[in-house]
Each structure stands twice: as structure tokens, then as C-alpha cells.
């Protein structure tokens, strides 16, 4: 089907029929287009290679080269290659995570491609890619966070999806009474604990407070923050989390869920693919929005946006711009985010969300049931130093909740030093 469309595109161009502004430039793109990507897991890797191939077919004179780097390694290496051997296009993350690179002049200002049409279609993520009114990248996917749970275990124990904190705690107690941990989690690389904090804090104090806190405008020793940790501690004291979680990364925490030793996992939607692969089909796996804690507070959600940027040191910026436009186009967004590919949410409002149980629920949740606001994620909303200290503190809290006072004092000091 796709190849037919492409062939006909090519035919149009060859016949000199210019169909749209996008294809008008098509025949003029030449040279190399070098893309560095962190889409390292099997499914994203295939998507990246496929996108490059399709773009290459559209521009036969262009030589598209993709280098895929391990996702963790990429995070440290981006700094080197942006200055050393800049590609034409690079993956990264929105919001505070891209700020240092924008400030150092390493990401190209691409406000020119954010025309009215694109701004409208990508309205939901435009803010996360803007610095002082200019845009420095485009999104290509985002995904919901929430509780993924073992539906079969819930059914067996007569539990249903909770709506309130009391129900959540009651469910958890039932699970524990049956020898099953409520949540699996692997905090070795810290950020998973950041996810827990985001939700505990957004539900206890609301999105606006959370945004101010990650922005350095609220104190870490405030009563509000203590309240958040008090709620979190309720779970810890119940023994809701798996033991020794500081030894595992997020993938190593999956088997607990797969083997039924733990019933749920607060995670991003990217966790669905490996869980399915491990045998949890849609009858066994389901999703619910993180419950309300403080009644009446509008629920905010984490929905991290992954992005593409053009380094200022790029050689082929013209082709790079075309590639970015191609990435965010409605058709491409529909395709790459469907369940068979990334299995995440398209950033373009004109795209279709795949008929996948989790994507539909996530899309519905983010569109209709997150009136509080959309956060990126703790380590993308808070600046690097605060994020590092914060997540280390969360991990320590999850293992030694008694250390809370010292932890909060440290975080407050970091806040005072780093904003």
C-alpha cells in the first residue's frame, strides 16, 4: 500500500505535477543526511530504519545514513557529537532536557518550519519545544504513564480498577494478604522513582504545585511536599513495593510482574511491548489512570515527549528540515506510532490513534481526563542538578523512609543552589 503511494508520488514528480509544497522540494535534496538516533530497542530501531528508508525513497538523490546508539549511552554522548561530528538530525527530549543545548547554541532554531499549519497540528507539544517563543525541534512521539496491572490476578481476587486512594490501598492490602506485591519497580537508574514522585505529588498537591516545585519555586521542606511523602510512605510501610528494587533496572523489574509476584507497575507505555513479548496478552494486562488522592484536585499526567532536533553544526540543514516535516506529518505519525511499531501516541492531531487497547486508553486519558495539565517527567521538568539530587533522594526514601527529613533538607539545599 505504502509503496504504491510512493511510486505514484514519484510518478507525479517525474511528470512535473507539483502536488504540494512538501513534494516541491523533493527533487532538489541531495548529498548525505546523517541521523543519530537513540531508538535502540528492537521495535523503535525498526521504526527509525523504516522512516529513513521511506524518506530516502522519496528523495532518491539523498543518501540517508542512520546511526543508532544505545539509549543510555546516547544521553552522555550527545554532548560530544553535537560539538565534534554533528549529524544533520538527532534524537532528544523536550522541555528542560533540551534547554542547555539551546542555550549553548547547539540546537538550530527551526521556528521557520513551525508554520501555522504545523503549530496547529502539533499544538499540544509546541510549548515543550519552545524557548523564548522560538522552536528548537519537533516531537515524534509521546506516551502516557499510568498503572499497568495484571487483570487476571485482579479478577481472581475479585478486585476492580480503583478510582480513589482508599480503593487503591484496599486493593493493595488484598494483594499483600495473598502474598503478592502490589507494585514492581526497579530503581537502579533512579528515574523510575521519579515517576512515583511525580504521581504522588501531582495527586496530593495538584499539577500546578508540582510544576512550581520542579521549577524551583516551591520549598522541598514545605508541608505540601511532606504530605506527598507521607502518602507515599503509606505504601512503603505496607510493603507494597518489591524488595531490593534498588538492584534492578526497569527491565529487570518486569519478570516480577510477568511471574505474578507483583500485580502492577507504574510505567510509561513503552513497557507494554516487552510485557506482551513475555506472554502477558490483553486478557492478562490492563491499564488504569493513577488514582485520585486529594479529592477534587484536577488530575495531571506525565506524558514525556521524544523529539528530533537539527544540530547547528549540521551540514545538510535543508534536507534535515524536510526530514523533520516528514516525521511530524499526519500519515507518518499514524504509521510509526501504531501498535505494530512504536505503540505510542501520535503527536499530530490529524493522525489516527491505533486501535490498541492501551493507546486508546492513553489517548482518551490525556485528551479527556487530565484537566490538571501534562508534565514531561521529573528529570525533564527539573534542571539537571535538581533532577539528579531529587531522584537519588526518592530512591533513598523508598529504601529508608525514616531518612526523609535529611533527604528533604538536602533537596531544599540543592534547590537553593541550582536555580
Amino acid at each position: 500500500m505504502n509503496s504504491i503511494i510512493k511510486t505514484s508520488f514519484a510518478a507525479f514528480v517525474a511528470a512535473g505535477i507539483v502536488a504540494s509544497a512538501t513534494t516541491a522540494n523533493a527533487q532538489s535534496l541531495t548529498g548525505d543526511l546523517v541521523i543519530f538516533s537513540d531508538m535502540h530497542d528492537p521495535a523503535p530501531r525498526a521504526v527509525m530504519n523504516d522512516m529513513a528508508a521511506r524518506f530516502g525513497e522519496m528523495h532518491p538523490d539523498l543518501n540517508v545514513q542512520v546511526t543508532i546508539i544505545d539509549r543510555e549511552a546516547y544521553k552522555t554522548q550527545i554532548r560530544n557529537f553535537l560539538t565534534a561530528n554533528a549529524p544533520d538530525v538527532a534524537n532528544w527530549y523536550a522541555a528542560n532536557r533540551m534547554l542547555p543545548y539551546v542555550e549553548a547554541g547547539l540546537f538550530e532554531d527551526i521556528s521557520d518550519i513551525w508554520d501555522d499549519q504545523m503549530s496547529e497540528e502539533l499544538a499540544s507539544t509546541k510549548g515543550a519545544l519552545s524557548v523564548d517563543g522560538a522552536q528548537y525541534g519537533v516531537p515524534y512521539t509521546y506516551y502516557q504513564w499510568g498503572i499497568y496491572y495484571r487483570k487476571d490476578i485482579f479478577d481472581e481476587l475479585g478486585l476492580s480498577e480503583p478510582e480513589t486512594w482508599e480503593e487503591e490501598l484496599a486493593n493493595c492490602q488484598t494483594l499483600l494478604d495473598n502474598g503478592i506485591k502490589c507494585y514492581t519497580v526497579g530503581t537502579r537508574f533512579l528515574w523510575t522513582a521519579g515517576g512515583w514522585f511525580d504521581y504522588m505529588n501531582m495527586r496530593t498537591n495538584g499539577y500546578d504545585f508540582h510544576a512550581r516545585l520542579t521549577n524551583g519555586e516551591e520549598s522541598w521542606t514545605s508541608d505540601e511536599v511532606r504530605e506527598t511523602f507521607a502518602n507515599w510512605r503509606t505504601l512503603i510501610d505496607m510493603g507494597a513495593f518489591i524488595d531490593d528494587h534498588q538492584n534492578y533496572d526497569w527491565q529487570e523489574a518486569l519478570p516480577f510482574m510477568v511471574n505474578g509476584e507483583a500485580a502492577s507497575y507504574l510505567m510509561g507505555n513503552f513497557a507494554v511491548a516487552p510485557m506482551r513479548e513475555a506472554g502477558l496478552d490483553d486478557d492478562k494486562l490492563d491499564f488504569y489512570q493513577f488514582v485520585e488522592i486529594t479529592p477534587g484536585i484536577p488530575r495531571g499526567e506525565d506524558a514525556p515527549t521524544d523529539t528530533f532536533h537539527i544540530p547547528t553544526g549540521a551540514n545538510n540543514k535543508e534536507a534535515a528540515r524536510e526530514f523533520l516535516k516528514f516525521v511530524v506529518s499526519a500519515e507518518n505519525q499514524t504509521l510509526i506510532n501504531n501498535g505494530a511499531n512504536l505503540g505510542q501516541l501520535p503527536v499530530n492531531a490529524m493522525s489516527e490513534v491505533d486501535d490498541d487497547k492501551f493507546l486508546q486508553q492513553g489517548f482518551d486519558m490525556l485528551s479527556n481526563r487530565a484537566p490538571g495539565g501534562i508534565a514531561q517527567f521529573f528529570d525533564r521538568d527539573a534542571p539537571a542538578e535538581m533532577a539528579a539530587a531529587g531522584m537519588e533522594g526518592f530512591q533513598e526514601f523508598m529504601v529508608f523512609p525514616d531518612n526523609l527529613d535529611a533527604i528533604l533538607e538536602r533537596l531544599e539545599n540543592t534547590r537553593l543552589d541550582s536555580y
Binding site: T76, R79, D243, D244, Q246, N247, A384
Partner: protein
């Protein structure tokens, strides 16, 4: 190099010939010195300079960085009204633990060397196999020990469970044991190194002195202390040097085994420098450089001692 000095000598034969002995060493030294200067000496100087800046490592330090004098050091040590950096203190304490406990490799190596210094069948193979951990890269040693310590399923955990005690969180997941767990992993190859130094040293021990001491009734521990150890002094010196250096260089194991965790409790200075600059949430290059300078100065104390000891030896040799 030989070619260029040859052609050089042809063009200016007279002058060169007269000064050959004076010039040749410099010709031979130039490439080595050049490399060494560019890659070692100059970077040290640059790091000193960098430590006086607030710079996030992006762009050029002179454009994107700000000169802040000794501010980074004030932050590290909590001087001039700044709060002392807790992570720096953790690193410093851990480095001290490394230094002290790593030295255990010396007596342990000596003990194994004494144990293996026999002439039985197949002893050569035993010696090689005992030495074997040193040849393996620290990355693999780190992985091997990480799996050894795995909670629930690691062999170490299985064995300790037999004896009925458990370490909550696992060896590497518990902040009270993690650093020691890593040091033990480091001691494994380091002990092997010291062992081989002593084995070679024991080979050179003067048998006549040993026999003479035996006739005088010296035995066992006394013999070791008064007769053998003094003769092993050169081996001990080298063992001391490499062990101290190894202890302060402990980066690979920390990075592989715990990545500084849990909650930063296994940081050492070398890891902290990396963490503050090149790691995912680093971005404080000036600050990291200040930590590196402190580590360098600590090392310099030991380097000075080593050089002094070698200088004395040189003097004696002349």
C-alpha cells in the same frame, strides 16, 4: 626518527658531529616528550584552569563559561559561606576506605605467595591460575562480582543464606555494604598482582641467609619478619605503589557494579568527576574539574613520596 637525524647530520655535519652526544638525547626524547606534553602535562594545566570556571561543557569555555575564581572549591569544602558538598564528602570517605582496605592486598598477596612457594607437581599451573584474575579486565571482574552478589540468586547470597544471615537489599543494594562489596571485587585482582610480585621476590631470597638463620634457630613468623621480609623490600615497595594508585583510580568497578548507587553511597572521587561532567545529568564541568584537581593533589602526595624513594635509590646507585 633515525632517518631525520641522519639527514640532519649530513647538512650540518661539522657542528652536529661536535655536539652529537649533547644533541642526540634530545632528538630521541622529542617525539615522546611531545606526545606526553600534549596529552598529559598540558591537560593537567587546563583542568586547573577549568576548575576556576562555571561552565556546562557546551560551547567554548571562554564564551559560554564564567570565571568564578575559587568558588568551586568553596562549594566543595563549604568555605566562604557555601554549604559543603555532601556528595563530595561521601566520595572522599569512600576513597579513604578504598585506600585503607585496598592495602590488604599486600599481606593477602604475601600469604598466597608463601602458600604457593613450593616445589610440588603442577605448582606452576597453580601459580598461573591464582594470578589469572589480574589479567581480566575490571569490567569483567565487576560483572562477575555483580552476578556473584545478586540478591536471591547470586552464589554469594546462596552461600550466606546457608549460614543463616542475609544482607537486606543485597550486598550492592545496601548502602552499608555496597562499597565494601566493590572493594572486595577490586582486591581480587589486586591481591593476585601482589602475589606475583612476592613470588618473584621470594625466588630471589638468598638461600644461604635462610639456612644461616635456620641454624640460629629462627623459624616461622620470626624468620619471616627478620630475614625474609627485609629481602622482599623492593617487592613491597612496588606492591605499595601499584596498590595505592589502584585504590585512587577505582572507577571501572564503581561504574559497572553500582553506578555510584544506591543513592550515591558508593561514589568515589574519580567517579564523581565523571558524574559531574560527562554523565547524563552532569553539565558542571568547572565543578568536576575542581574535584579532579583535589583528587590530583591527593595523588600528588603519594607520587611525591614514590619519587622521593626512587630518587634516594638513584642517588645510592650512582
Amino acid at each position: 626518527m633515525t632517518i631525520s637525524s641522519d639527514s640532519y647530520s649530513q647538512t650540518q655535519r661539522g657542528w652536529y658531529k661536535r655536539n652529537e652526544i649533547a644533541i642526540t638525547p634530545w632528538l630521541f626524547l622529542t617525539p615522546g616528550l611531545l606526545f606526553f606534553f600534549v596529552y598529559v602535562i598540558w591537560p593537567i594545566w587546563q583542568s586547573f584552569g577549568m576548575s576556576l570556571y562555571d561552565w556546562n561543557g557546551l560551547g567554548d569555555i571562554n564564551v559560554n563559561g564564567t570565571y568564578i575564581g575559587l568558588e568551586n572549591y568553596n562549594k566543595l569544602f563549604g568555605l566562604a559561606g557555601e554549604r559543603a558538598d555532601r556528595n563530595f564528602q561521601i566520595s572522599l570517605w569512600n576513597n579513604l576506605r578504598w585506600l585503607v582496605l585496598y592495602l590488604l592486598a599486600i599481606p593477602a598477596g604475601l600469604m598466597i605467595a608463601l602458600f604457593l612457594n613450593q616445589n610440588v607437581r603442577g605448582i606452576r599451573i597453580y601459580k598461573s591460575l591464582f594470578f589469572f584474575p589480574f589479567v581480566i579486565s575490571q569490567v569483567v571482574v565487576g560483572l562477575v562480582f555483580t552476578w556473584f552478589y545478586l540478591p536471591n540468586n547470586g552464589l554469594f547470597t546462596v552461600i550466606t543464606n546457608w549460614f543463616g544471615f542475609q544482607i537486606p537489599g543485597g550486598v550492592l543494594g545496601n548502602p552499608n555494604t555496597a562499597t565494601y562489596g566493590i572493594i572486595v571485587a577490586g582486591l581480587w585482582p589486586q591481591t593476585a598482582y601482589c602475589m606475583i610480585l612476592y613470588l618473584t621476590g621470594l625466588n630471589a631470597v638468598d638461600p644461604e641467609q635462610v639456612e644461616a638463620a635456620r641454624l640460629d634457630g629462627a623459624k616461622g613468623r620470626k624468620m619471616l619478619w627478620y630475614v625474609i621480609l627485609p629481602q622482599l623490600k623492593p617487592a613491597t615497595f612496588i606492591a605499595f605503589v601499584v596498590t595505592i594508585i589502584g585504590a585512587l583510580r577505582s572507577f571501572d568497578l564503581v561504574s559497572i557494579m553500582t553506578n555510584g548507587g544506591p543513592f550515591g553511597s558508593t561514589r568515589v572521587l574519580s567517579f564523581y568527576v565523571f558524574e559531574k561532567s560527562l554523565s547524563e545529568r552532569g553539565l558542571q564541568y568547572g565543578y568536576a574539574a575542581a574535584v579532579a584537581v583535589v583528587l590530583f593533589l591527593i595523588m600528588l602526595v603519594f607520587i611525591s613520596y614514590f619519587l622521593w624513594a626512587m630518587y634516594k635509590e638513584e642517588k645510592a646507585a650512582r
